[in-house]
Amino acid sequence: MKISLATSGGQAAGVFMRKPPRVIEVEKLAAAEKAELVGRLAAAVAEAKSHAAPGGRGADSMSYTIDVEDGERSVTLKQSDAGMPQAFAKLLDWLQAHFAANK
């Protein structure tokens, strides 16, 4: 399973930061890390299915696109800063912490 995180927009939207998405190879994680990530991902996916539409685009909000590829299956989660639902926020917490620790 591969999970990628791409960001865009925000105060510096005019900057056009062309950073590529950051990617995690889930199978390379330790068992506990993997379990936690998969659990948060499942919650975020369930949350997305239960909501009619993603949160609004607030002024200077950044947007986040999380792509999940697992064999032939894939799912995309997308939210912005304003109105970010809870499970997506917790998934983003995990991803940001992981990328910060592995700079």
Partner: protein, 405 residues
């Protein structure tokens, strides 16, 4: 701390709303957590309106929350309240002070009582997420990131960024400019203009003394970057290998057409704001003195007179009208406004007759000369018509006059 598991509890909302004003900080926090935990921060407008509108005016009461590096703001804790002592956390104190300065600015300069002119509470969230290179207005409060230390640093360090975000709230409660394309660029421009004015006001700077930069304090030594944006010289705030060159235009000829998507910056709202930012800079420096006094008044009144779909041309015309209303037809202020818009490629269409010639730059002799010729030709035609109507000119007299031309 109240441990009520209020996702399923029967605490009625009207009691929770009263508890938001409780003297005990822990009680207020618990009530706020409960309300926020059952509503989306932005999408549930009805909750926000029901929650905040009926409360007694708070005159911009400030509450700063520590998001503790989470993106889930419902888990944030109160770090400083209006009646509490300073925090040991510099970010908390900077957000608190920045809110106060911005609120004082709007109160003293424009007689405005907080963001909504009804004493709206000012809520701020610091330490949001990890390596969060941003600050934003979520419709109810302001959220700050700490930056990643490479591209950006702590966003509470910049007073103009704080005021920029709070001004999004002012715009939301006034014109409510739609956040895409030209109306969205105007929305962004309002925030840059008043963000800069708050900083200038706090430093008692004149227009000539101001740096006219947005976010200069959130840059890092790692990347060559003066600021996020420059009102004085759009397109010059940064130029480096990581970010590229500042894409802001300073003239309508360089207007950037982008799609209304996140990737397209909602139609270039942070980009084309450079044009109207430049116009304000030109007005402020042409008039001189403190920019918040004359130029700021014109812009504020024009914001109040605008609506959700106002485009650049309409806003330019509105500023000319407001300048006349505030300072008189043909006044120095109105002339500065008309001249500024001409310089950025937006000729005002509502220019009073007494200001037609003055609206053209004195140094633009070609344009002035052409205009003068047109006026002279029109005057001659009117004279000829008048004489004919009055029967004062015989055909012989008319021929003689024609030979003399």
């Amino acid at each position: 701390m109240n441990t009520c598991r209020c996702a399923n509890c029967i605490m009625p909302p009207h009691i929770l709303r009263r508890l938001l004003n409780h003297k005990n900080a822990k009680v207020r926090q618990s009530a706020l957590n409960t309300l926020l935990g059952t509503a989306r921060l932005r999408g549930e407008r009805s909750v926000r309106a029901a929650t905040f509108a009926p409360l007694a005016p708070t005159n911009g009461r400030r509450t700063i929350f520590d998001a503790r590096h989470s993106n889930d703001l419902t888990s944030a804790v109160v770090a400083r309240s209006e009646d509490g002592p300073p925090s040991s956390d510099g970010a908390v104190n900077r957000a608190y002070d920045g809110f106060g300065t911005t609120n004082d600015f709007y109160k003293e300069v424009f007689k405005r009582n907080s963001i909504d002119d009804k004493g709206m509470r000012l809520n701020g969230y610091v330490h949001r997420g990890i390596d969060f290179n941003n600050a934003f207005w979520d419709g109810e409060g302001m959220v700050f990131g700490d930056g990643d230390g490479e591209m950006f640093t702590d966003f509470t360090l910049s007073l103009d960024v704080i005021a920029h975000e709070l001004t999004h709230g002012v715009t939301e409660f006034t014109a409510n400019l739609e956040y895409h394309h030209q109306s969205g660029a105007l929305n962004e421009s309002m925030s840059d203009v008043f963000g800069s004015l708050v900083k200038q006001w706090s430093l008692k700077q004149t227009a000539d003394e101001a740096d006219w930069l947005i976010g200069a304090e959130v840059t890092t030594p790692t990347i060559k970057m003066d600021a996020l944006r420059s009102l004085k010289a759009p397109g010059t705030a940064f130029n480096n290998s990581i970010m590229g060159k500042d894409p802001q235009p300073a003239h309508m000829k360089q207007f950037v057409k982008l799609p209304n998507t996140e990737e397209g910056d909602n139609g270039g709202v942070h980009i084309n704001s450079g044009i109207t930012n430049k116009a304000f800079f030109l007005v402020a420096t042409a008039i001189g003195g403190h920019a918040w006094e004359d130029a700021g008044q014109i812009w504020y009144e024009s914001l109040l007179a605008s609506n959700a779909k106002t485009q650049f041309q309409a806003f330019a015309d509105t500023t000319v009208v407001q300048a006349e209303r505030l300072f008189g037809a043909g006044s120095t202020q109105q002339q500065a406004v008309a001249d500024a818009w001409n310089q950025v490629g937006l000729k005002p269409t509502k220019v009073p007759s007494s200001a037609i010639a003055s609206a053209v730059r004195a140094t633009d002799s070609e344009a002035f000369g052409s205009l003068a010729k047109q006026i002279a030709a029109l005057s001659a035609e009117v004279d000829a018509l008048t004489r004919k109507v009055q029967g004062l000119e015989s055909p012989r007299s008319a021929k003689k006059r024609a030979r003399a031309k």
